[in-house]
């Protein structure tokens, strides 16, 4: 039985007060184990991105608990939370968020260097991460010298460089074509299989299908869980 690395327990999130009150999440619960990828699908405004930002400690839930590897995020002090975020959680966004003035390897090594890891060691870890994405040869290029698909693979490498165990991705292939998307999700999946817990927010069914479980969120509540329970033979693939 793999260890649960990320857990949301009855999380509610409300923005505004009185007439302007918006319930973004109405009691969402979720567990993600090591080596597991969970996809969250839902319409715009369903609360899926809020769920991801709360899971990553970027926002605090109004009520409920978020636990990452035995830490309860709402009880941590800001400095502790920042450290946990930097060391444990990796984010992948649609728009890559790479720093244009840094080379690929410098971008990937940056989170480690910010954490006080020596440059040589950080670069070694960054190169390992790039090589696991099959883009080691791009290490010394700048972001504007590589393609969109390559940039996203760099962003994924950055998201799990070092000891990070939880990977959160928000529409990671939103800006990519179909073939490149598949290469990116394949790389992401490979990384999850190596023992990371992943949450993938997407409206793309083809992408979500790479997950072990698909949760459907509507009006701030998880209304459905779809697991891969049938074999392709059953429907004549």
């Amino acid at each position: 039985m793999s260890k649960v690395l990320l857990e949301l327990i009855d999380v509610q999130k409300t923005y505004g007060t009185g007439e302007n009150e918006v319930h973004a999440l109405r009691g969402a619960s979720l567990q993600v184990k090591a080596g597991e990828l969970v996809a969250i699908m839902g319409a715009s405004g369903s609360g899926k991105s809020t769920l991801l930002t709360i899971a990553g400690g970027l926002e605090v839930p109004t009520t409920g608990d978020v636990r990452i590897i035995d830490n309860s995020l709402p009880t941590l002090k800001p400095a502790q939370l920042a450290t946990l975020r930097r060391q444990t959680i990796g984010y992948v966004f649609q728009d890559f968020n790479l720093i244009p003035s840094l080379t690929v390897i410098e971008n990937v090594a940056l989170p480690l260097e910010l954490d006080g890891v020596k440059v040589r060691k950080a670069r070694k870890a960054a190169l390992d991460a790039l090589e696991s994405m099959d883009i080691g040869e791009l290490a010394d290029r700048f972001p504007d010298e590589i393609s969109g698909g390559q940039r996203q693979r760099v962003a994924i490498a950055r998201s799990f460089v070092g000891p990070r165990q939880v990977l959160l991705a928000d529409e990671p292939t939103g800006a990519l074509d179909s073939k490149t998307s598949e290469a990116v999700i394949r790389a992401l999946r490979k990384r999850i299989d190596a023992g990371i817990a992943g949450v993938l927010v997407t409206h793309d069914a083809k992408l979500a299908a790479w997950a072990d479980r698909i949760l459907v969120i509507r009006d701030g509540q998880i209304v459905e869980e779809i697991s891969n329970t049938i074999t392709p033979e059953q429907f004549g693939a």
Binding site: R189, A205, K206, I226, S227, N228, F235, G236
Partner: protein
């Protein structure tokens, strides 16, 4: 395509004779599904044999009228709200089923669309899981990969279509439009309805 279940579904609205059933199914599926009258009659015989409908005598023109039995109603209801396996061939059946379902009062079309979305998503997941385990650099896998990708894109297309349908149904309901249809006056025997 299930002629059998479609006949039962229409008969839940009232008694019909064979030719009338053909007209009803045709008009309720937008004229896109034309069934051979011989197939209607042979299916009616089998349904009667199986106790899903019963004949209630003839009308003045010698046409046998049928009515659905309670077990026939149950089968119709089940068919109308159950997902079907995904495949390009099956999609046409699904379209016909949905078209028919929106014309049957009290039929839970949302339930059908939802069940189908879950089913298709599972299929997509299963296909993807198989593809995940394939060595992309092995040329022997290429033919299989091509077919798998076709199935994957078909599943995706079906999911998008179902999502679109959900929106259309919601908008139709919001505008207060009701596509339910009671049975029409049967046209004269032997003369097919002309498309307008």
């Amino acid at each position: 395509m299930s002629v059998r279940a479609s006949i039962l579904a229409v008969l839940t609205l009232g008694e019909c004779h064979g030719y009338q059933l053909r007209q009803e199914i045709e008009s309720r599926t937008g004229g896109s599904w034309q069934i051979n009258i011989g197939q209607i009659y042979s299916t009616l015989e089998r349904l009667e044999r199986d106790g899903l409908l019963e004949s209630v005598g003839s009308n003045g023109q010698g046409q046998t009228r049928y009515r659905v039995t309670p077990s026939g109603s149950v089968e119709a209801e089940e068919w109308l709200t159950t997902a079907i396996p995904s495949s390009p061939e099956a999609r046409n059946e699904l379209a016909m089923k949905l078209a028919l379902a929106v014309t049957i009062p009290g039929c839970d079309v949302e339930k059908l669309v939802h069940a189908q979305r879950v089913q298709t998503m599972r299929n997509l997941q299963a296909l993807t899981a198989t593809k995940r385990d394939v060595d992309q650099n092995d040329p022997a896998e290429l033919p299989w990969l091509l077919v798998a990708d076709l199935n994957i894109f078909n599943c995706e297309a079906e999911l998008r279509w179902l999502e679109h349908i959900e929106g259309t149904l919601a908008r139709t309901a919001a505008r207060g439009l009701n596509p339910n249809q009671t049975l029409s006056e049967p046209a004269k025997r032997g003369r097919p309805t002309k498309a307008n």
